[in-house]
């Protein structure tokens, strides 16, 4: 699934500028980044350093002001919105800090969401959803609604949702930021397992050094620039 040269993520000269009341706010300034398939990379940096923005660009939910973002062999800047949406459903599994489960759907239904975009039959979808829930240790919680789950369990459901369609890349934005130490450790262990056992490429944003240490490679971002 990697691009030419074997990189799954390949960024060159990426800039991102936000406009706030006619004032230009540069967030990313000339980012060059390469991540190989199967890597587990942590992205650290202080608040406002541009970590989440960089993650959003790689996940195809935001566009750079300048530069090239090539992920899973596709130059994202060239894709039309509908193609980009289809690309995201095929290649990206997104894990949010605040879980972002749909409150009116059960754990099962939340996990099933990405599969609704595929041509899989109901039976096949069910098999995959139950497998994903089993993988995160929540096979008994399928019929529970998010409000009936603990924070750690909600994040596990969110991880199951992120992996259920077997995406090329998992991006996690502060996945343990809203959890206590025990649950945070469990989630990080789960991510490590996904990387080591299922060979998932993971890019995780965190400001927690202990969390970052779980990754094989740690990147530091400061004031929109990747530190050497």
């Amino acid at each position: 699934m990697g691009s030419e040269n074997g990189w799954l993520i390949h960024l060159r000269g990426v800039h991102k500028v936000y406009h706030r009341d006619r004032i230009e706010v540069p967030v990313l300034q000339g980012i060059d980044l390469d991540v190989r398939e199967g890597e587990f990379v942590s992205l650290m940096g202080p608040s406002g350093s541009g970590k989440s923005t960089l993650l959003n660009l790689i996940a195809g939910i935001d566009a750079p002001t300048k530069g090239e973002v090539r992920v899973a062999g596709e130059s994202l800047g060239t894709l039309k919105p509908s193609k980009l949406a289809a690309w995201r459903s095929r290649h990206i599994g997104f894990i949010f800090q605040l879980y972002n489960l749909i409150p009116v759907l059960t754990a099962y239904q939340n996990v099933e969401l990405p599969l609704l975009l595929t041509r899989l039959s109901g039976k096949e979808r069910r098999k995959r959803v139950l497998f994903a829930l089993d993988l995160v240790g929540l096979e008994g919680r399928a019929k529970h609604f998010p409000r009936q789950l603990s924070g750690g369990e909600e994040q596990r459901v969110a991880i199951a949702r992120a992996i259920v369609a077997d995406p090329t890349l998992l991006v996690a934005d502060e996945p343990t930021g809203d959890l206590d130490a025990k649950n945070a450790a469990d989630i990080l262990t789960l991510l490590q397992r996904l990387n080591s056992e299922l060979h998932k490429t993971i890019l995780m944003v965190t400001h927690d050094p202990h969390a970052a240490e779980r990754a094989a490679r740690i990147l530091h971002l400061d004031k929109g620039v990747l530190q050497p």
Partner: protein, 382 residues
């Protein structure tokens, strides 16, 4: 279909709001069907009018009667092949609320001139041979659970007193437009029961003519005969008579159309506002769905689908209730709307209107949801 569960789950997240929206649409469509049925009932009475029948009444007003003696003169008018006559009775059954149309008619000519009133031969004979007999329409019989042989007490208002009629026939209409909510009894019975000064007076004459082409000529001739008499006449086709009767209460169609449109428009604005509010509250969720790969087009269809589903459900409820309510109650507005039935085409029009409301109320929130920028939406509500 696999997205239906998602649409339904979203609609049920705020049950009270969804219920109130559905309910308001149902009320609007119920009123639409009711007002539309008033119009179609008018139209049905016009459709039921025969082109070969003329109505003769007092030139000044329906209130003033004509002498019975006119009958002999009318029969002799060239082109006239039959004459019948009768009086509007205007009574009620047991309670003033129980009003329906009653006509005292010259029975032999009634059955001859009104072939759309279908009655079995033996019931015809029974009706003809008994002075206090009456026949009633099938709907009326059903409404009051009257059967052959029942005695019906009617309190007269134009002709005061307690009157008793025995049901000797239950008629069916030849078409669905024919009124089945009327009671006909012998004009002779009424006439003989009246004081001397009120006898031998007729409310309306009906003339059968050989061909519809003769209508204008026969009308002119009849009115010319009585032009200089103390009781001049006005003769017109049955259709013109019905239309004139309806126009007495103004331009009903226009009035009802304006009222109906205003109700539907007001409810549509409320629905638009509700749907926009519902979509705005879910900004983060919509952004999450787009992150998962839901395209702008799919998001648009999902949000629009919610509005459409709510409107169609409300519409079906309103139209269904209207159809059921007026069918079960046999509502006739005191005999003024003898065929007050919600027609299938009215229900269809109501459902199409509901669908239109759904589409219009869903457009704005669906477009704004589809245009939502994921990153900024997640940032704003984070």
């Amino acid at each position: 279909m696999k997205y239906f569960r998602l649409i339904l789950a979203n609609l049920l997240r705020a049950k009270r709001r969804t219920f109130l929206t559905v309910f308001s649409i149902a009320v609007a469509l119920f009123l639409f069907c009711t007002l539309r049925t008033v119009i179609t009932s008018f139209e049905a009475s016009l459709r039921a009018s025969q082109a070969t029948r003329l109505v003769v009444r007092h030139a000044a007003s329906l209130v003033f009667p004509l002498p019975l003696a006119y009958k002999e003169r009318l029969v002799q008018v060239p082109g006239v092949t039959g004459v019948s006559y009768g009086n509007w009775f205007g009574g009620f059954y047991q309670d003033p609320k129980n009003r329906f149309a009653q006509f005292a008619m010259d029975v032999p000519t009634l059955l001859d001139l009104f072939p759309e009133v279908l009655l079995p031969q033996e019931q015809k004979q029974a009706f003809l041979s008994e002075r206090t007999a009456c026949i009633i329409g099938r709907s009326l019989a059903r409404k009051y659970n009257w059967k052959l042989g029942d005695a019906i007490p009617i309190t007269g208002t134009i002709f005061p007193g307690e009157w008793r009629f025995t049901v000797r026939g239950i008629y069916d209409g030849k078409t669905k437009d024919v009124d089945e909510n009327t009671l006909f009894f012998h004009w002779d019975y009424l006439n003989e029961s009246l004081p001397e000064g009120r006898r031998n007076l007729v409310g309306i004459y009906w003339l059968r003519i050989a061909s519809p082409d003769l209508a204008a000529d026969v009308s002119r001739r009849v009115d010319a005969i009585f032009e200089n008499s103390p009781q001049p006449t006005k003769t017109e086709t049955e259709k013109a008579f019905q239309a004139g009767f309806i126009s007495m209460i103004g331009n009903v169609q226009l009035l009802l159309t304006i009222v109906g449109s205003a109700i539907v428009f007001a409810i549509m604005l409320v629905t638009i506002n509700t749907m926009m509010m519902a979509a705005r509250e879910r900004t983060r969720e919509i952004a999450v769905l787009k992150t998962l790969g839901f395209s702008d087009g799919l998001i648009l269809r999902l949000v629009a689908g919610e509005a459409l589903l709510v409107s169609l459900f409300g519409g079906a409820l309103g139209c269904g209730l209207a159809a059921l309510a007026f069918r079960e109650s046999d509502f006739t507005a005191g005999g003024f709307f003898p065929n007050f039935r919600v027609l299938p085409e009215t229900v269809l029009a109501g459902l199409l209107l509901a669908a239109l409301m759904g589409i219009l109320s869903g457009v704005a929130p669906a477009i704004s949801a589809a245009r939502l920028e994921i990153a900024s939406a997640l940032r704003k509500v984070a």
